[in-house]
Amino acid sequence: MSSRRSRSRQSSSSRITDDQINDLVSKLQQLLPEIRHTQSDKVSAAKVLQETCNYIRNLHREVDDLSERLSELLATSDTAQAAIIRSLLMQ
């Protein structure tokens, strides 16, 4: 299974241009709070990727913490669905 997939990956990666990669990297940079406002020519691709990994790890940790917090809250109170959706609309 994996050998078939890696072969198709190799054939498609030969067609990838530097421009495409640069485009995607700068798109990624826009999503990262740490380096969002830095000029893109001042940040290396490696730096963007590193920050991406850090950011994903942070978000995973946040999901962990929030799951814990929500599990503690589960037994105690009601979910006011309408209020939550309203507050999300206001943001």
């Binding site: 890696s6 990838i16 798109k27 691709a45 990727l49 799951s67 105690t76 939550i84 959706i85 507050s87």
Partner: protein, 154 residues
């Protein structure tokens, strides 16, 4: 299941709301199963199991809202369904470095990203970057939704 594959362009408000609704549905299901059987006892193994269920619900809602067109969403749902313990969600294929292609200048970082993104070990670099951007967007939305819920409990 609930999401149509035709929807690829989501503006941030509507995707946030769809995610909120999907997650809240799972959340209240978990809640209804809880209150009937157990009384509150903090730091019990029950609480740990509960938070794991919520975490699974969070990732699964995210993946379902993103839709089956997203490779990370497919990989994530597959992982969630085949591994009910969920413990291995983050660390995929630690030792399986045999098929990793030696290419790209920032190889090290790309490899790390592959390990973090669900299904990332099977993508070419362009797909990996594209899927990562979408994954980050969805994941941060999920965090916002969960924060909103926990804030409203107080």
């Amino acid at each position: 299941m609930a999401s149509k594959s035709g929807i690829t362009l989501m503006n941030s408000t509507s995707s946030r709301l769809r995610l909120a609704r999907t997650f809240l549905r799972s959340f209240s299901k978990i809640k209804s199963q809880t209150s009937a059987t157990t009384t509150l006892s903090p730091s019990s193994p029950h609480l740990k199991r509960q938070s794991r269920r919520i975490k699974m619900a969070a990732y699964s809602s995210m993946a379902r809202v993103a839709g089956p067109r997203r490779a990370w969403a497919r990989a994530l749902l597959f992982k969630l369904h085949t591994r009910p313990t969920h413990r291995t969600l983050m660390n995929t294929r630690r030792g399986g470095s045999t098929t990793t292609p030696p290419s790209s200048r920032s190889d090290n970082q790309v490899g790390k990203l592959r390990r973090l993104l669900p299904g990332g070990d099977r993508m070419d670099v362009c797909t990996l970057l594209e899927e990562t951007a979408n994954y980050i967007h969805c994941l941060s939305t999920q965090v916002k939704v969960m924060k909103a819920i926990s804030d409203h409990h107080f």
